[in-house]
């Protein structure tokens, strides 16, 4: 990944020092920035340990969009089919139900009990769900996460 902005990184490490995930994991965002200009690192598992908290991006003295770069590296990984099983599952939920976290029987019952009907979302309107399915097909998302 090459962008003129990333080339201004002077490896100060502010990003890594601000990273809540790096405190506990092998995620070293300073190294990711450094390596991303030299080679394809979309296969690195560490990319998926980022919570997208934006600390690194906010604090970078060179104003490098560090978190956005991680998002971009992730989408390169996805294009190569590198998708974690849990994330694939969430994608399937979206394709099937229009929600990343769909309603279940337990929570339908709870809603009723506290005086709420079915949520006024695609869950209640099948035609609206069809629309979501159609656009997910149109953008090729269903093929992407197959």
């Amino acid at each position: 990944m090459k962008s003129s902005e990333i080339l201004t990184c002077f490896q100060c490490g502010t990003c890594t020092g601000s990273c809540p995930s790096g405190r506990y994991t092998s995620l070293n965002v300073r190294r990711i920035v450094k390596d991303s200009v030299k080679k394809d690192i979309s296969g690195e598992p560490d990319l998926w340990m980022c919570t997208t908290c934006y600390n690194c991006q906010e604090r970078c003295p060179r104003s490098i969009k560090v978190t956005d770069a991680i998002l971009q590296l992730r989408s390169e990984a996805v294009k190569k089919g590198r998708i974690l099983p849990a994330h694939r599952k969430v994608c399937r939920f979206l394709i099937k139900t229009g929600h990343a976290i769909p309603i279940d029987d337990v929570h339908s019952a709870i809603r009723k009990k506290i005086g709420l009907g079915a949520p006024e979302t695609v869950h209640k309107y099948p035609e609206a769900l069809k629309e979501v399915k159609k656009i997910l097909k149109s953008t090729g998302f269903d093929e992407l996460v197959k």
């Binding site: 809540p20 995930s21 405190r23 506990y24 994991t25 998926w48 340990m49 980022c50 919570t51 997208t52 908290c53 934006y54 600390n55 991006q57 906010e58 978190t67 991680i70 998002l71 992730r74 989408s75 996805v78 998708i83 974690l84 849990a86 994330h87 599952k89 969430v90 994608c91 979206l94 229009g98 929600h99 990343a100 976290i101 769909p102 309603i103 279940d104 929570h107 709870i110 809603r111 506290i114 709420l116 949520p119 006024e120 979302t121 695609v122 869950h123 209640k124 309107y125 035609e127 609206a128 629309e131 979501v132 159609k134 656009i135 997910l136 149109s138 953008t139 090729g140 998302f141 992407l144």
Partner: protein, 302 residues
């Protein structure tokens, strides 16, 4: 200013419906005009979908935005994830004609169009900027005297250049709204640090995400708080469900987790059950007794 359409998202209606109910109660109590954003879908969640495929993320978001455009209302979110996805997508599409055309080429197939005519708000930003902490304070009869650990959540604040809610290192607006209820917002170390849930980390790497949660819970507990007040159902799940998960490893905190809509509801005199606290995984009888004794003297409860 336009009226507001309430955007529910996934986690609130489908896992924490008490937050939905409390939100509707407090909006009505404050006389804020709102209606449901019918037919909306997942925002879609920024962690997974935004990192997977930008165009899909933008297109699904733009369909939700187009629903609000059809009604000529702004969107009110009650989740930092929805706020982030919808606001960022709106900003990107308003400013990039090429992406806008691409998104509209997909929307055309379902007879919709994104035109960029509405704004996306978060309930905290809306209450602070458009209603004001003083007005919230005036609506409360008896102060909710509890010690709260306020958790802003990353995407309410950042990226700061887009959120326009001030700096992210030492924000105060949410604390002001919490203190408007009569509560004390207790300072604690690592207050603006992440709960650990975002970016798809909770779903794919639960243990890693819980380490970040533990970091937060330890420091909140040390500060001697009665409860956690959040503004996002994903942070809410991470703290509430996370405490159950951490308890399996022998770490107990017993801190009730309360979305600001629920917290404000309590300050308006609604019972813990009416705002859905009993639907949390962590239910603290001690905290509920405290609320009950505060509310006993509360005229609003008559």
């Amino acid at each position: 200013m336009k009226e507001l359409s309430l955007f529910l998202g996934c986690l609130i209606p489908n896992r924490y419906p008490g937050i939905e109910k409390a939100t509707k109660l407090v909006l009505d109590r404050l006389g804020i005009k709102w209606s449901e954003l019918k037919e909306a879908s997942c925002c879609p969640a920024p962690g997974v979908f935004r990192s997977f495929d930008k165009i899909t993320w933008l297109t699904v978001a733009s369909r939700n935005l187009a629903l609000a455009e059809e009604k000529d209302t702004d969107i009110l979110t009650i989740c930092n994830g929805c706020f982030s996805s919808l606001m960022d997508a709106n900003n990107i599409l308003k400013n990039d004609a090429v992406l806008r055309d691409e998104v509209n080429s997909h929307l055309k197939k379902i007879g919709k169009e994104y035109t960029g005519t509405v704004e996306v708000r978060h309930i905290i930003d809306f209450l602070y900027k458009d209603i004001g902490a003083h007005k919230v304070r005036n609506a409360i009869e008896k102060p909710l005297e509890v010690r709260a650990a306020v958790h802003y959540g990353c995407h309410l604040l950042k990226p700061t250049k887009d959120r326009k809610l001030g700096g992210a290192e030492c924000p105060v607006f949410f604390d002001e709204l919490v203190e408007a209820t009569g509560a004390v917002s207790v300072p604690y170390e690592g207050k603006t640090s992440c709960c650990g849930a975002g970016g798809g980390v909770r779903s794919a790497m639960l243990e890693t995400s819980l380490k970040m949660t533990e970091y937060k819970l330890e420091r909140m507990k040390k500060a001697g708080v009665d409860c956690i007040v959040d503004a996002c159902p994903f942070c809410h799940l991470q703290y509430d469900g996370g405490q159950v998960e951490l308890a399996k490893a022998g770490k107990t905190y017993n801190l009730p987790v309360i979305h600001y809509s629920q917290f404000l509801g309590l300050a308006f005199g609604y019972t813990p059950e009416e705002v859905g606290l009993h639907l949390n995984a962590i239910v603290s009888p001690g905290f509920e007794e405290k609320i009950a004794s505060i509310q006993k003297g509360n005229k609003l409860l008559e």
